[in-house]
C-alpha cells in the first residue's frame, strides 16, 4: 500500500506518519478545528448526502473496493465509507487524523496516515475509489495534488471530488484579509461576525440572510458549527478557484 517508509505515531499507533512529511504549519488551523468540533455528529444525513447524494451512489458502491480518502480530516466522510469498503486509507496533513473516531467500524484493511496530498506515500494505482472532499482548494499546489489523486487511482477507478464552487469566489477578499492572522485572532473576528449577524437574524428575516449572502457565509442551527464552517471557509492560507479547472485537469490526465 505504501511506496515508502511510514512510522507509527507516538500518540496513537493506529496513525502512521509519512517519513517525508514536511511543513504542515499551514494546516494547523484545520487540525485544531477538526479536533475541537466534530462536524459529523448531528449532521450524519448531510454528510451522507454530500457524497452519496451528489453522485447518486448506490449503497453498495464501495463494497469490495480499496478506498483512499485524501484530506480525510477527522473522518467526516471516511466514517461513512470505511465500514462499507474492503480497505480504507485516510490521509491528512494535519493532526485532525488523530480524531478519526474509534467507534467507526474498520474494514478488512484500515490505515490512517499523516501525509501531504501533494506527495502521497501511497503506491500507484492502489485505490479503486479515491475521495478528496473539500480539500484541493486548500492545498498549496492543487494541480500537483490532483495529479497525485490520478496516480494512486487504478485505471478504470473513480475519483470523487468536491471543490468550492465559483460562487464562493466572493469570499476572496475576506479570505485574503483573514489569512495572516494567528488562529486566536481569527477566531475572535469570526466570533464577532457571527454574533453580529445573529443580532440581525433576531430582528430582520430579510436583512440577515442578505448580510450572510453578501459575506458568503451561511447560517447554521448550531453556533459552534456556524463558526467552524465559517472558519473553514474563510481563513485558510490557500483558497483556489478550481471549479473551472478540474474538467481541464481531468482531460489532461485522461480521466473521465
Amino acid at each position: 500500500m505504501f511506496r515508502r517508509a511510514v512510522k507509527q505515531s507516538d500518540r496513537d499507533p493506529e496513525v502512521l506518519i509519512d517519513s517525508k512529511l514536511g511543513d504542515s504549519a499551514y494546516v494547523d488551523t484545520f487540525g485544531l478545528e477538526w479536533q475541537t468540533f466534530d462536524g459529523f455528529v448531528g449532521k450524519e444525513m448531510m454528510s451522507h448526502g454530500h457524497l452519496f447524494g451528489r453522485f447518486m451512489l448506490p449503497k453498495d458502491f464501495f463494497s469490495g473496493k480499496a478506498v483512499a480518502d485524501i484530506g480525510c480530516g477527522n473522518g467526516r466522510i471516511g466514517r461513512l465509507v470505511a465500514p462499507l469498503c474492503d480497505s480504507y486509507v485516510g490521509a491528512d496533513l494535519s493532526e485532525a487524523v488523530h480524531s478519526f473516531p474509534k467507534y467507526t467500524q474498520r474494514p478488512r484493511k484500515f490505515s490512517l496516515v499523516r501525509a501531504s496530498a501533494t506527495d502521497l506515500p501511497l503506491e500507484d494505482a492502489s485505490a479503486d475509489a479515491t475521495i478528496c472532499w473539500g480539500v484541493l482548494h486548500h492545498v498549496d499546489e492543487p494541480v500537483v495534488a490532483f495529479s497525485e489523486l490520478v496516480r494512486i487511482t487504478r485505471r478504470g477507478g473513480v475519483i470523487l471530488l468536491y471543490v468550492y464552487p465559483q460562487t464562493l469566489d466572493v469570499r476572496k477578499n475576506l479570505n485574503a484579509y483573514m489569512r495572516g492572522l494567528p488562529l486566536q485572532r481569527g477566531h475572535e473576528i469570526l466570533e464577532q461576525l457571527s454574533d453580529a449577524l445573529d443580532v440581525w437574524r433576531e430582528i430582520d428575516s430579510f436583512f440577515a440572510p442578505l448580510l450572510a449572502s453578501n459575506l458568503a457565509l451561511s447560517f447554521k442551527h448550531s453556533k459552534a458549527w456556524q463558526k467552524f464552517q465559517w472558519y473553514d471557509g474563510v481563513t485558510p492560507r490557500y483558497h483556489w478557484s478550481l471549479e473551472k479547472r478540474i474538467p481541464e485537469l481531468a482531460d489532461q490526465s485522461a480521466c473521465s
Binding site: L174, A176, Y177, G180, F206, L210, L211
Partner: protein, 235 residues
C-alpha cells in the same frame, strides 16, 4: 467587524446593496379606499419585514406580524401590487392612505412601537446604539442637534451618527481613539487600539504582495484605512 466584512466583500462583487439599505428607510405609499388599500412595490421589497402604517398610525407594525390579509399580484416587470384588506380592523372614518416602510434598523429601538425614522435617521440610529448599550448594562444618553446625534456613556465612549435624511457616517471615539465608517465614500478607518484584531488582519495582509480586490487599503501606526476603489463606482 461586520462593517469591515461587508465593505470588503461588497467591493469584491461591486454590489453595495447591503450598505445602501442601511442608509435610509424606503417608504411606499398608496391609497386606502374604504377598508382596502393598495401599494405598488419593487418586487424585491421585503413585505414581511416592512412596517405597515395606516390611518395616521392607528395601525402600525411589521406586516408579517399583523393579523390582516394581504395579496400580492404582478403589476409590472419588476413591480408588485399589494392589496391589503383592513376590514377586520376598526379604522377612523376618514382614513385615506397607507404606507409600507422598510429599514433594517427597525426593531433595534424600543420595538415594536417606534418606526419613526424618516427624516430623522441619525436620531433613530443613535437611539438604536443607545438601546444596544443599555441592553448590555451601559447607561448612555443621546444628544446633539442639526444633522448629527451623539451617544455618550459615562466611560467616555462617544458614537457620533451623522445624516438625518440618510445615514452618512458613524464614528466611535474614546479619548484619542477614533474609528469611523463613511457610508457615502464607502471608507472605514479602524483604530488599532479599539479593534486590534481588525487592524492586525490588515497589517498582516499589507506585509504580503496580496491585495484586496477593488479595495484601497493603507495603514499607519494608529489606523487601518479601507475604502472602495474609486469610491465604489460601477455599482
Amino acid at each position: 467587524m461586520l462593517a469591515v466584512g461587508v465593505l470588503i466583500t461588497s467591493c469584491c462583487t461591486r454590489n453595495f446593496a447591503v450598505i445602501e439599505l442601511l442608509k435610509a428607510p424606503i417608504r411606499h405609499a398608496g391609497p386606502l379606499n374604504g377598508s382596502v388599500g393598495a401599494v405598488d412595490l419593487p418586487s424585491w421589497f421585503p413585505l414581511q419585514d416592512a412596517v405597515l402604517e395606516a390611518a395616521g398610525g392607528v395601525i402600525q407594525g411589521k406586516l408579517g406580524e399583523l393579523p390582516i390579509s394581504a395579496h400580492k399580484q404582478e403589476a409590472g416587470p419588476q413591480t408588485v401590487r399589494l392589496q391589503i384588506d383592513l376590514g377586520q380592523v376598526s379604522l377612523p372614518a376618514i382614513s385615506t392612505g397607507l404606507s409600507l416602510t422598510y429599514f433594517p434598523w427597525f426593531r433595534f429601538l424600543s420595538e415594536p412601537l417606534n418606526f419613526d425614522a424618516i427624516g430623522r435617521v441619525a436620531e433613530y440610529v443613535a437611539g438604536s446604539f443607545r438601546f444596544l448599550l443599555e441592553r448590555n448594562g451601559t447607561v448612555a444618553s443621546v444628544e446633539g442637534d442639526g444633522d448629527s446625534r451623539r451617544v455618550r456613556t459615562a466611560a467616555g465612549l462617544e458614537i457620533e451618527v451623522t445624516g438625518m435624511a440618510a445615514l452618512r457616517s458613524v464614528t466611535l471615539a474614546s479619548g484619542p481613539m477614533r474609528t469611523s465608517i463613511d457610508l457615502n465614500t464607502r471608507r472605514i478607518e479602524i483604530d488599532h487600539r479599539m479593534f486590534p484584531a481588525a487592524y492586525e488582519a490588515g497589517a498582516e495582509l499589507l506585509k504580503t504582495p496580496d491585495r484586496l480586490i477593488n479595495v484601497d487599503a493603507t495603514i499607519d501606526e494608529s489606523h487601518l484605512y479601507l475604502a472602495a476603489a474609486g469610491g465604489g463606482a460601477n455599482v
